[in-house]
Symmetry: C2
Subunit: 147 residues, 2 copies
């Protein structure tokens, strides 16, 4: 069993998309993460759900739990709507050491190891400069765990 | 909106449970992660799905992508079944700096920041020495992202 047997079409966002659109995609389609693509449709970043969520939380609240406690609900709403003007490009973290991107011949063990190393429940599959789709952690688990 | 309004019952595993049981729970119930509890039912570890997956991949395959490529399917099966004798305790990583555990009064921003910092799409909610349930990233996103 290889990546080609496990992959499925997966929605993408461009780096120029509004952050709020990325968050909406994640929420509505119940996705484990997002694939951010360049103008050629190739992955420039793969974000785990927790990283997309981080885009919606001000930096100072991520660092200081006490501050996040005292911010009341109205303020929280304000933060979320203040995202309206920001794009994914502005919010994506600096390029990590390794992106969870592989080719269709990747083995089950490679996929699992890649997800574990990058802590991303989503691997993009690229062949000859074209994004074929993605393998999700759930798709992988469903196939490899004996029921 | 606070953690108490977003939490739901969530299955747990004990540290003595076989790793394969933990993997099966994750796969069958489509969970974003697992709550590992002690004998008193209190969380000792919260594992993201990618961390549970890591339990099923031999260390040398996680570190060396080239090795994972050459391991063929039969060997992969052997690795998975070789887990049969291992317990969650043996596989859980050393205690991290911070566990995604909070109390029922945590705000939406606190929950989001905690998930982002710990990169775990799951926060356990504890009150007076009792596990009340968990807030998942999806439950949080569904409530805070305007549709």
């Amino acid at each position: 069993m290889r990546a080609r047997d496990l992959l499925a079409a997966f929605p993408t966002v461009t780096a120029d998309a509004p952050v709020i659109e990325a968050a909406r995609l994640l929420a509505e389609q119940d996705l484990p993460g997002l694939i951010v693509v360049d103008d050629d449709g190739l992955p420039v970043s793969i974000l785990a759900g927790t990283q997309v969520l981080a885009l919606a939380v001000p930096r100072y609240c991520q660092d200081d739990p006490a501050l996040a406690r005292v911010v009341d609900e109205k303020h929280a709403d304000a933060f979320l709507s203040s995202l309206a003007g920001r794009t994914v490009r502005q919010a994506v973290p600096p390029r990590p050491r390794e992106l969870p991107v592989t080719d269709p011949d990747a083995t089950v063990l490679e996929l699992a190891a890649l997800m574990a190393r990058t802590r991303t429940p989503l691997v993009a599959v690229v062949e000859q400069g074209r994004l074929l789709g993605a393998v999700t952690l759930q798709a992988l688990m469903d196939r490899v765990v004996p029921s």
